[in-house]
Amino acid sequence: MNIETAGLARRFGSTQAVAGVDLATGPGVFGLLGPNGAGKTTLLRMMATVIPPSSGSLRLLGRDPGRYGPRREIRRRLGYLPQNLGYYPSFTVAEFIEYFALLKEMPSARVPGAVAAAVEQVGLGERARTKLRTLSGGMLRRVGIAQAIVNDPELLLLDEPTAGLDPEQRVSFRAMLRDLGQRATVVVSTHLVEDVGAACTEVALMHQGKIVFRGTPAELTARGVDGGAGDAPLERGYTAVLAEARS
């Protein structure tokens, strides 16, 4: 198992953002769905070792991220794309990815090749030397994906990765996720249920800091058969589960 949590919780002042999550998952693409404020981003940030949990246990790649040494090992094998990606406008695409490859302690000799591969993989090969300040929002998102995958991570955490991507790029991206999921654990937090349906082998639905559904996309679809608002089967399953959780 690459991710193991038990009673994982996180509080911000009086707000309980994550209210006890039990999860265990290995290689594959794991989708995280939920309405705004459900706690998806907070859960992802805990998995990315950005913030520590307030309570509960968390093990990533078989290690305890609460200790410095294991945390450092986790981070070498981790890729993270936050919801709000910051960047350095004066850097070029290649320089930005190279910067994070170096900070991720990749072997120096591997860095140039890894950067080139990451840039190609997100379809920005022709813009490798372009300054970030000149890129569109979608392209910046792809740069963010590239820095997350440059070190060929064993644990890849993506928060709203397809925001700003056009449909063609989204199709390519889902294929990339499936490929990555064959040997790594990929957790994708998204509002777009079609991303989940197309790329994820398993999906969890969060509501008010808790997981209220866990299963395959097909199982989620099945929950919407008997009623649930939406234009697509998966959407109906989503709304049905949420309605049940709220009642």
Binding site: A48, L78, P82, Y87, E95, L103, P107, V111
Partner: protein
């Protein structure tokens, strides 16, 4: 090719961390993208208008020209170096990349050090470019010696220290006001804080390269004393290490326990170095050139004299540097000057010539004139003093008139050639006919006692007369603040009248009278009534 058509790739062997920390790659990235080079056009303009223009107005003496490096070039740079460093330090906060950089295995501190280093390297490169221009031009003009490197080294250290302080401020407080406020605060502290110390004659003023200015002839007659430079280096290095160590201790540095311990040790070491430097500065004292010994209480030296820090003092810097003086004969008297100041020989001979002709053959007239190291002359009563150091004396057998490099119009802004000439003439005249009044240590004009006024007035009148005979208008000495004796108004008026009468006599008459009465005049036995 996208991942859709590519077969599943086998995972390569688990990535091992780089055996050799790719510091150079990080640094290269930061160097390429540092905002510091954008300030170069403005810095170049400031360099041209301020330090370069000022230096070209100085004589082509290495240490004098080099004084603009810490005194002008460095302050011009400080504001922008600190502001850009604070800007660079606040980058992650402004660009919202904290989440990304804080979760990397390589501590964020490593990236920050690379960013700081890049800013500092560019700042130092710009500074060295200005230094190179200045030194290259001086090399084509200087007549002796070579470029001093201590001012360069210390100035670079100050740039690094200030960049570290600014960078740390920006990293810890990545707000919009940090860059300008850090720049203002640093400029204020580096310049004004120490100037305040100078105003109080505090030895701690020597800690700032900006306010401590070596003497005009530092490194000319004696080796450039490195005591203060070493102390400054220690202080600045300590500051830089403290600032960077504090960065490593910050919660967001991403450092583990071991690295934090290292940062704490570094910060403590930096603090110890800075504190040691401050302590050593407290032991700094002025010293007579070539001896390392302090001056006597009655002959204080001005701020341009050498400062010695006993714990750091190297006796080798007390050995005189050999040189062959450059001389020109006027009125049968060789007038000599150190080859470093060769360019002033025509002015010196033009100044001393008329006075030497006037007093040639008289008892005590100098057989030779030569330049001495600043601060090496001991004040005597009624001498012409500048910054409390005597500008000339006649001593030895045969008598030699010694004048100092403080006469050279190096740092006196706007001092004209005429003032320089007059000052030298006044020094010779005052050495030949001393006014004979004890000199207060404060440097204020000496006031003769009531009973000695008539004799002092006679000597002052003779000084004025000799100057008038040399072509200096009456009262010029007082106007330029060269005369250090304050007579009562009535006595001064009588002395002026007597001087005019004496100066109006034929040269032969003046000479003959002085030959008979000079000894009595110097002994205080003559009054104004006895002057022709």
């Amino acid at each position: 090719m996208t991942a859709t058509s590519a077969p599943a790739r086998p995972r390569p062997a688990a990535a091992r961390p780089s055996a050799a920390w790719p510091a150079w790659r990080l640094l290269r990235l930061e160097l390429r993208r540092s905002p510091m080079p954008w300030t170069f056009p403005l810095l170049a303009a400031l360099f041209a208008f301020d330090p370069y223009r000022t230096a070209m107005g100085y004589p082509a003496v290495w240490t004098i020209r080099a004084s603009v490096l810490p005194n002008k070039l460095l302050p011009d740079f400080v504001v922008f170096v600190v502001a850009i460093a604070a800007w660079a330090g606040s980058r992650d906060g402004r660009r919202r990349t904290l989440d990304l950089v804080e979760i990397t295995p390589r501590p964020r501190w490593a990236g920050q050090l690379a960013a700081w280093a890049a800013t500092t390297i560019w700042a130092i490169a710009a500074f060295l470019a200005g230094t190179a221009v200045l030194y290259a031009v001086t090399a084509t003009q200087a007549t002796w010696g070579g470029p001093p490197w201590w001012p360069v080294i210390v100035s670079c250290a100050e740039l690094a220290a200030l960049a570290a302080l600014g960078f740390t401020a920006g990293a810890l407080w990545p707000g919009r006001f940090t860059a300008p406020l850090a720049a203002v605060a640093t400029f204020l502290l580096s310049l004004e804080g120490f100037r305040n110390a100078v105003g109080r004659s505090s030895a701690y003023a020597v800690l700032s390269p900006t306010t401590y200015v070596p003497g005009n002839d530092a490194g000319v007659f004696y080796r450039y004393p490195p005591d203060v430079a070493i102390d400054q280096l220690m202080f600045l290095a300590g500051l830089a290490v403290v600032a960077l160590g504090v960065l490593g201790l910050a919660r967001s540095s991403g450092a583990g326990a071991g690295l934090r311990r290292g940062a704490a040790v570094a910060a403590a070491a930096g603090l110890a170095a800075a504190a040691t430097a401050v302590g050593l500065a407290g032991t700094a004292r002025q010293a007579l050139p070539g001896t390392g010994r302090p001056p006597s209480a009655t002959s204080p030296l001005g701020m341009q004299a050498a400062w010695v820090i006993p714990a750091l003092h190297d006796a080798a810097s007390d050995r005189p540097l050999p040189y062959i003086p450059v001389c020109q004969t006027v009125a049968a008297v060789p007038v000599c000057i150190h080859p470093a100041f060769r360019v002033f020989l025509p002015d010196v001979t033009a100044a001393l010539g008329p006075v030497l002709r006037e007093i040639a053959g008289l008892p005590g007239a100098p057989a030779r004139a030569g330049q001495a190291a600043s601060g090496s002359l001991v004040p005597r009563s009624g001498q012409v003093l500048v910054d409390w150091t005597p500008e000339g004396e006649i001593s030895g057998t045969p008598p030699v008139f010694s004048y100092t490099a403080d006469q050279v119009p190096a740092r006196s802004f706007g001092e004209s050639r005429r003032a320089f000439v007059t000052g030298l003439q006044a020094a010779l005249v005052a050495a030949f006919v001393p006014a004979g009044v004890g000199q207060p240590a404060t440097g204020a004009p000496a006031v003769p006692g009531r009973r000695t006024v008539p004799a002092v007035a006679a000597r002052v009148a003779m000084q004025e007369a000799l100057l008038m005979a040399a072509g200096v208008p009456l009262g010029t000495q007082r106007y330029q603040g060269l005369i250090q004796v304050q007579l009562p108004r009535a006595a001064q008026a009588q002395a002026d009248a007597a001087a005019q009468r004496f100066a109006a006599l034929p040269a032969a008459t003046r000479h003959a009278w002085l030959a008979r009465h000079l000894a009595a005049l110097r002994a205080g036995q003559l009054t104004l009534a006895r002057l022709p």
